[in-house]
């Protein structure tokens, strides 16, 4: 029997998210014989353009079109998905801020298994899916086995499957709206109000060619001085990982990552940053990445071009001094 895989498509302003084609690849790795259906929810003509886009990559597209989804929220969408999805299907959702909101509850409502933040699939045997996950901020990996015989909801880590660009879709869009809103919309116990845009900071790190980025390895607010000095010597700007912003040592506008800025410098220095996918997800345009970390096993060394295993508190001042000497 052909397996049914569903991929939830995130989109904005009428364009599918990068994760859409990653879902095609993920579904292919999961089961190359599966019939893969894109599920696209929203409202109006922008939704139609996303559906048409998806139709070129997926065997089939299920559309849910309703004004209540003009801004898609998981509390409104989840009950609709429960009405249309089969009880034993495989449902793929990107592991991002939307997937984290939607997917765990969806698995409960579908009475399906849940597999969070999968980075790879290694085959299905006897109703059991073998997958790879990471734990402890990527320091160790695990194989997990999920019983998918009664269906499964899987969140897939963005960036872990290479986008499948092959256009092999059949262009078939099915309007699932009537089924999805059968019995009326859910009572509004959670009402979306508005989007509050991020505050603009004093520097725009998205425009910087050279970023000197600092993470929790800096240990203390006072030590930030050596980072500012290095950035000045290099002629770059200071950016950071999330814990530095959480501690209020630097402004939110300097945070690189999925919940911060997406940057595209020529050179990126990652100093005392472990390299979680949420941080690295903010790096675009393949910058030259130099990582300095005292742990040789830090995941950042997997994405960096050049690595130095050392204590940044010792190394950075020496480097700064040498660059300044050089510049005279």
């Amino acid at each position: 029997m052909t397996r049914q895989v569903f991929a939830y498509i995130i989109h904005k302003d009428g364009v599918a998210d990068d994760t859409a084609l990653e879902m095609v690849a993920a579904a292919g790795k999961l089961d190359s014989d599966a019939r893969v259906t894109a599920v696209v929810a929203g409202a109006g003509s922008k939704l139609d353009s996303v559906c048409n886009e998806a139709a070129s990559s997926f065997a089939e597209v299920w559309k849910i079109d309703n004004p209540a989804l003009a801004y898609v929220t998981s509390e409104v969408l989840r009950p609709m998905l429960v009405l249309i999805l089969p009880k034993n299907g495989i449902i793929l959702v990107p592991h991002d801020h939307f997937g984290m909101d939607l997917a765990p509850g969806l698995s409960i409502k579908l009475d399906a298994a849940y597999l969070p933040d999968a980075v790879d699939f290694q085959g299905i045997d006897n109703g059991k899916l073998k997958a790879v996950r990471e734990e402890y901020t990527g320091q160790v990996s695990t194989h997990v086995l999920t019983d998918i015989s009664e269906g499964v909801v899987i969140t897939v880590r963005p960036g872990s499957f290479k986008a499948d660009e092959s256009k092999r879709g059949e262009g078939h869009v099915v309007d699932k709206t009537p089924e999805a809103i059968e019995g009326g919309l859910p009572a509004g116990s959670c009402r979306f109000l508005e989007i509050v845009e991020a505050e603009v900071g004093d520097v725009d790190i998205t425009k910087s060619d050279i970023l000197v980025s600092v993470g929790r390895g800096i240990e203390d607010e006072d030590n930030l001085e050596i980072i500012h000095e290095l950035a000045e010597a290099m002629g770059g700007d200071v950016s950071c990982s999330r814990p530095i912003v959480d501690a209020k040592w630097l402004e939110k506008s300097r945070q690189v990552g999925t919940s911060g800025q997406t940057v595209k410098p020529k050179v990126y220095m990652a100093l005392g940053i472990s390299g979680t996918f949420q941080h690295v997800g903010g790096l675009k345009g393949s910058p030259f990445v130099i990582a300095i970390n005292k742990s040789p096993r830090a995941p950042i060394f997997q994405v960096a071009d050049v690595g130095i295993v050392d204590d940044i508190l010792d190394f950075i001042p020496e480097l700064t001094e040498r660059i300044n000497e050089l510049k005279g």
Partner: protein, 263 residues
């Protein structure tokens, strides 16, 4: 306002390098420094601040073995009014759904207006809060970085999304929220504070107390099971610069010059 905060004791990744043990069955647990999950600490701080603003009480709860009592006590020293440990051999090996089911049983015993979890814990799953909400049929918001009370039946909540933007919602109580770091600045817990709560009795609830059938949770109830641990296969990876610090700096400066890293 009766608030329940779910907390987990986890290996502290800023204090330890996590290693896989010899046969790959577990991580190396000798000398492992453990503490409360980073996200949960923000959740407890938020609950305490809410209680101090609008009244009520804060209860912290953890599913774990006797060692988990240490983090329950720590969060009580921080200012939580009550602590509960949910512990039973039958809970061992639970997947996220199992943990959520155990927590649900405890929520049902109380009269809570608000349940807080962390956004994610050590295995990065980010699942328990959303599952718990679905099991309770309560509204849920994840990655919450702002909470304001509208009245005693309603709250205004901000969720962090991409780019540092925020979605604002109005949510009816009772509800479940998963808390994102940065929502507040968790207070410091002094040794003295810990000593003050050292002798407080922390009730332990078992599967029997909670009315949970043992086969629905733990290893038998788990649909997702960990098979082993392994070190991530080294990919292409970085070229590691070796030599004395001076030599490394020489090489690095050459690279920086070549790549436009020195202006």
């Amino acid at each position: 306002m009766e608030i329940l905060v779910c907390i987990k004791r986890v290996p502290d990744t800023s204090e330890n390098e996590i290693e896989v043990n010899r046969d790959g069955t577990d991580i190396e647990r000798d000398d492992l420094v453990c503490s409360v999950n980073e996200w949960d600490n923000y959740a407890v701080e938020e609950a305490i601040q809410i209680r101090d603003r609008v009244g009520g009480s804060v209860t912290v709860v953890s599913v774990g073995d006797e060692e988990a009592e240490e983090v329950v006590r720590r969060e009580m020293a921080m200012g939580a009014d009550k602590g509960i440990l949910l512990s039973d051999d039958a809970f061992e090996g639970s997947d996220g759904r199992g943990i959520a089911a155990i927590l649900k049983a405890e929520v049902k015993r109380g009269n809570y207006d608000l349940v807080l979890t962390g956004a994610q814990a050590d295995d990065g799953a980010a699942q328990v809060g959303g599952m718990l909400a679905a099991m309770l049929d309560w509204p849920f918001a994840s990655l919450v970085n702002f909470i304001e009370f509208v009245d005693d039946k309603k709250i205004k909540v901000g969720r962090e999304i991409a780019g540092g933007n925020q979605e604002m919602y109005e949510i009816n109580l009772p509800s479940v929220l998963s808390i994102q770091t940065g929502i507040n600045e968790p207070r410091y817990v002094s040794i003295r504070g810990i000593r003050k709560v050292a002798s407080l009795e922390i009730p332990v609830h078992t599967a029997g107390n909670l009315g949970i059938s043992p086969e629905s949770v733990g290893e038998p109830g788990a649909k997702t099971k960990r098979l082993d641990y392994f070190m991530p296969e080294p990919g292409e990876g970085a070229e590691i610069l070796e030599g004395s610090t001076d030599e490394i700096i020489d090489k690095l400066i050459e690279l920086l010059k070549a790549k436009g890293g020195i202006k």
